[in-house]
Amino acid sequence: MLAVLSVEVRKLNRSLALLLSAAAPTLIAVFAFAMVLRSEKPSEWSMWIGSATAIWAYFMLPMCVTALTALVAHMEHGPRSWDHLRALPVPRWTLYASKAVCVIGLVGIMSAAVLAMTVGAVVVGGFVKPEAAAVGRLDLPAHAWILAKMTAAAVLMTALQFWTAIRFASFVPGLVLGIGGTFFAVVATSAKQGVFMPWQMPVNILATEAWRAQTALMLGGGLGMVVLAAAVIHLARREVR
């Protein structure tokens, strides 16, 4: 499994998936930097990081998972390399499992990058405009913990997007699912039932009601792992013509 995983990581070298992984957190950091420059008075660190985390969970994370799964799957669909891979003397489930691990790993790295780059952007913004520099205590472990929980809550959504992207050679089904899921997550943010919707689970980690955060984490993470395992088994067993 480790050999297959190392091959997946190597495939990311100079790939669009890697570019996307860098671009998405950068956009949030650029936005935070612009907001600091726009501010007339200082704000708390918790406000800056909280905003960035909310933007990430609310919109950017679901869209990034959609694009990332599509790009990672297209690395094999594009050159039609599934036949080559599936013909090798390697257990087929490891091919799909390592890809899934790669995607979840990239989502985790992107989440960490959102935190690191936002802190960096706010610090640089404070140098450029000292009167708007962040004040108060920067509780990095607490913010990192929230982002870690968001990543875990996103596993169910990631598993669904991953299965769709690998199952269908075309970009379209995965994009429709991802855009549709994100759309309903955005327009129905305040709906109580939203916590049961995979695309809304990450943002529910920020909910003030404890049960919502707990439900999002348990369903998104726990059920997500089960769905991911089922997806890997199904993909490995199906016949690709």
Partner: protein, 310 residues
């Protein structure tokens, strides 16, 4: 032991029987030309041989290993170049080979070894997006040779190549059993390609294996033919009607298909004499070389007749 062997291999898609009870035998160290029209069932058969498709019925064995029961063990004995190469174009040729090498758990020196066999040591560091189609084909063969599997399976390896590339590839394929010490199963829909490359041949027609054997032997068994160019083909037909032969017409003129064992020279002299006596001018009369095309035509005609009878 045969390198590849199938028994009653069958695959049905819906109501369509794409491969129908194929029993083939590829001898060790042969270059086996697997010939058939597009859609005849070549690729489906090959996909069953490498475990990508499950047979509806029948058995496929690679070096004695049952592909259906022990896919991984069989896969270790076979290297394949499939129609779609599956290269990551943003990576170099060497990096692409390295991905497969790691999956196979082979030492890093394997990459140089296979690049040398396909004469691509100098180009290995370039991105695959900069490769010509011929270079991609050769890189695909190099990848199939990683780990020196005893069987190489190449699906239409000259597809899309220019005439020079085709000639190079044919030379390369002919030398492969010696260079790589492997048995080669080569699929193609081009008669000339198989004829110039293969030592053995299997012809698949509408999913059924209609002819199989050593190419030289199959040619020897073929009925001798004599080509005729005359001024009046209708009159020539009438004159030769009484003789024990089959007359057909192609782009080059009349063809007299003799019975197996007939002597070319004796029959040619007799035909010439009859035609001259009947007042038919004979411009040319000569034995036709026995070709794979002849084998293919005969096999196709026999199969079609059989199907019409059924």
């Amino acid at each position: 032991m045969a390198a590849i062997e199938t028994e009653g291999l069958t695959r049905v898609f819906g109501r369509r029987r794409v491969v129908d009870a194929v029993s083939m035998c590829v001898p060790d160290h042969a270059v086996y030309g697997f010939l058939g029209r597009n859609g005849a069932g070549k690729t489906t058969t090959m996909k069953m041989l490498i475990g990508l498709l499950r047979p509806t019925s029948g058995v496929a064995r690679v070096c004695g290993v049952d592909v259906g029961r022990h896919r991984m063990r069989a896969a270790r004995r076979i290297g394949a170049l499939l129609e779609a190469h599956g290269f990551h174009v943003h990576l170099t040729g060497r990096e692409n080979l390295d991905l497969t090498r790691r999956l196979l758990g082979l030492p890093a020196t394997e990459i140089d070894r296979v690049l040398e066999v396909v004469d691509m040591l100098r180009d290995g560091g370039r991105r695959v997006s900069d490769y010509s189609l011929g270079m991609r084909q050769r890189l695909g063969i190099a990848r199939a040779m990683l780990g020196a599997p005893p069987v190489l399976m190449l699906d239409e390896p000259t597809n899309g190549l220019d005439p020079d590339g085709i000639a190079d590839m044919r030379r390369f394929l002919r030398a492969l059993p010696q260079r790589a010490g492997a048995t080669v199963l080569l699929s193609s829909h081009l008669l000339g390609e198989i004829e110039q490359t293969a030592s053995h041949v299997g012809i698949i027609h509408k999913g059924r294996l209609v002819v199989e054997g050593e190419l030289a032997r199959l040619k020897a068994d073929l009925a001798p033919e004599i080509g005729l160019r005359v001024d009046d083909t209708d009159k020539a037909r009438a004159v030769l009607r009484g003789r024990d032969l089959t007359l057909v017409e192609d782009a080059e003129g009349l063809v007299a298909r003799l019975r197996p064992g007939d002597n070319h020279d004796v029959v040619s002299a007799a035909l010439n004499r009859d035609l001259i006596q009947a007042g038919v001018s004979v411009f040319a009369i000569a034995p036709r070389a026995r070709s794979l095309e002849g084998i293919y035509r005969a096999a196709s005609a026999t199969t079609s007749r059989r199907q019409e009878t059924v």
